[in-house]
Symmetry: C2
Subunit: 252 residues, 2 copies
């Protein structure tokens, strides 16, 4: 990781960030993971008619600490006004730019089982900067099926289509046994980002990013906390009748 810190003077903070900004100030990974949440909160606020929002208000809407939010945003530059807050529209533009959402990204989806069908129909993708442009499956009985206006193609076509449609992001929703082979095909086709829903570890060349979502793992983590809570309430005499005292949003 020889990531060179390159001087991010707040000087360029004004509106003119048209294409000239070379690379990115290396944002902390933790910050990047929160930017989408801020973005969603900002869109909500914007639709509610807010022109500006304070760090406190935005932090509440995004479910984080306000100091953390300010520090996160400060990494992008100075887009707030002291004494006033942040301009909602401006901040939306800035975050969308940083996340690369100003260009609608083409996504392909591999595996149209139960989950794949749901993902193909999930309108949260389209409404937040992504467009599913192709569906693939290895099962001949599924090929040809029309889902949400797209025809399911055989996975052998993936390489050709990926190039034609300039697909950079692939979503894997196959069973675990097929996932690695699919990943290999995706990588060969030039895909450099993969979202993996299959419960397995993918091996990919460096330069390819993989994010994994495992629904069962999330439940197992909750199960642990259930287990812990149960063993705690069993011990002290006072079975905490109602913990509903203080409202605290327990974020992830």
């Amino acid at each position: 990781m020889s990531q060179q810190r390159h001087g991010n003077t707040p000087g360029n903070a004004d509106g003119g960030r048209a294409g000239s900004v070379t690379a990115f100030p290396d944002l902390p990974e933790a910050t990047i993971a929160r930017l989408p949440e801020y973005l969603r909160a900002l869109h909500n606020l914007g639709e509610a008619g807010a022109d500006t929002v304070s760090s406190e208000g935005l932090a509440a809407a995004a479910g984080v600490n306000s100091a953390k939010l300010r520090k996160d945003l400060s990494h992008l530059g100075s887009y707030g006004t002291r004494g006033v807050g942040y301009d909602v529209a401006l901040l939306i533009d800035q975050i969308e730019y940083v996340l690369g959402l100003d260009q609608r990204r083409a996504v392909c989806l591999v595996g149209l089982g139960n989950l794949g069908h749901a993902l193909a129909g999930y309108d949260g993708f389209a409404s937040r900067g992504f467009k599913i442009v192709a569906l693939f499956d290895a099962d001949p009985s599924k090929v040809g099926e029309e889902i949400q206006g797209l025809i399911v193609r055989h996975i052998e076509e993936l390489g050709r289509v990926a190039v034609e449609e300039n697909i950079a992001i692939g979503v894997i929703a196959t069973p675990a046994g097929a996932a690695q082979a699919v990943a290999d095909v995706l990588v060969d086709a030039g895909v450099t980002s993969i979202l993996n829903f299959a419960p397995c570890v993918l091996s990919v060349p460096s330069g390819v990013d993989v994010r994994k979502v495992d629904l069962a793992i999330e439940l197992q983590i909750l199960s642990f906390h259930e287990h812990r809570k149960a063993s705690l309430t069993a011990l002290p005499g006072g079975r905490s009748a109602t913990a509903a005292g203080n409202q605290e949003a327990v974020g992830s």
Copy 2:
């Protein structure tokens, strides 16, 4: 502070850790989030016929560093044998116990749109310690529908059913606008763990755990990396991505 390793000597490791173990050594959150991954890898290894596995081997199967794996496991106690490795079956039992998976947990699912249908049919839940015992929706046209052998009930029945079936975990797969109301109903019904697929922040009383899975956010994070990679390759520096193969997983 006084992180006293509580005398969980390897002697009783086999069967004799019935419910009497007081509480849990407070495992680091990061460790907890990885335990399910270890568990999955162990099951794979076990089915492949392995009796024991080294930290190196298990780490590779789980996609993590071996030192990290050893430290994680050391938090549970000493369940390995130096010079040999870890007993697969024993470690499976131990992790399942810690995660509270020795008892099959009852889960209810609220919201049977596109995603809800997929979740209801996802066999990864049943195969990994969970059982969906009830489905709810607010839409009368969906109530009565049979999915995977379960009848969709109206959400007003949630309170009664949750108590009857002893449901501790609820999954929210509704639109964002309905999620908070559903969460309130779940909490009132005694549910203390919530897995939220709706793109919004939930406010719940302390003592209730919420984990959030937002599919679009995952894509947006990938989009950022795409954006960054694109702006790097545009530079004449010609450093072709040397980043080590990194497998990022959702969490925190």
